[in-house]
Symmetry: C2
Subunit: 143 residues, 2 copies
């Protein structure tokens, strides 16, 4: 049963507020970035951090993500579902991606992410920034 005041969409999912979306984005840890590479839409998981209003993730220097994501429009998604309870939530955003080249920011990001993972050698990685232009979230409540 939905809360009586909670807005729902055409699939009966509760629509999250923007604050709730950004909160869940910040604590999710794992997200999926989607981008176009050679005319194909590719989705890959990344470990991300949120800094200010932007989403950042590391990728190996010279990776396909690095090449494709720089100055591109990308999608990004985080979620958490319980298959037993058939409940869960997701937050999805679109934004512009760019490589981070500010040394101060790179140090801050590294400090905020003391345990790099999902990237080979952190010393040979680059940070990608996603600046969101749209964000939305949905929650599937218990029926």
């Amino acid at each position: 049963m939905n809360d009586i005041d909670a807005p729902t969409d055409h699939s009966d999912l509760r629509v999250m507020s923007t604050d709730e979306c950004t909160g869940r984005l910040a604590t999710a840890g794992i997200g999926r970035v989607a981008f176009v590479r050679s005319g194909e839409v590719v989705v890959l998981p990344v470990h991300h951090v949120v800094h200010g209003l932007d989403v950042y993730f590391r990728t190996s220097g010279g990776s396909k993500i690095e090449a494709a994501a720089d100055h591109s429009q990308v999608g990004f998604e985080v979620d958490d579902y319980d298959r037993a309870l058939l409940t869960g939530w997701s937050v999805s955003l679109t934004g512009a991606a760019s490589l981070v080249d500010e040394d101060d920011l790179i140090r801050e990001l590294a400090d905020s992410d003391p345990t790099p993972w999902m990237v080979g050698d952190p010393n040979h990685s680059v940070w990608v920034r996603i600046r969101p232009d749209q964000i939305s979230g949905r929650e599937l409540l218990p029926r």
Copy 2:
């Protein structure tokens, strides 16, 4: 430590075999579909089933996914990560999406998915097929 025989990629992830990829895809239950809509790359979670070599998911009739995914190149991803252990795996594919209009197949798909979720009213939903043209998977082993 990686198995000595396991191939790894440039990020030190174990490369999965195609059989392993399709096996994990079939049991994952939740995946993320990525597609281009009005020039933006969008990622959304779906509950999927695998039938034959194809991936299928339901979406509400008239949804944005339905409009965007029909006869499009899309991306699809499943994963499972353990943030405490810093381990996990992902499978990513690209393929052509199309709406399912074969009545027999729609019945088979509905039978194979007795508990629809992540879609409002299953009686007003459509099935989308993704026919994979490339599939790959990576596993992050304990360090």
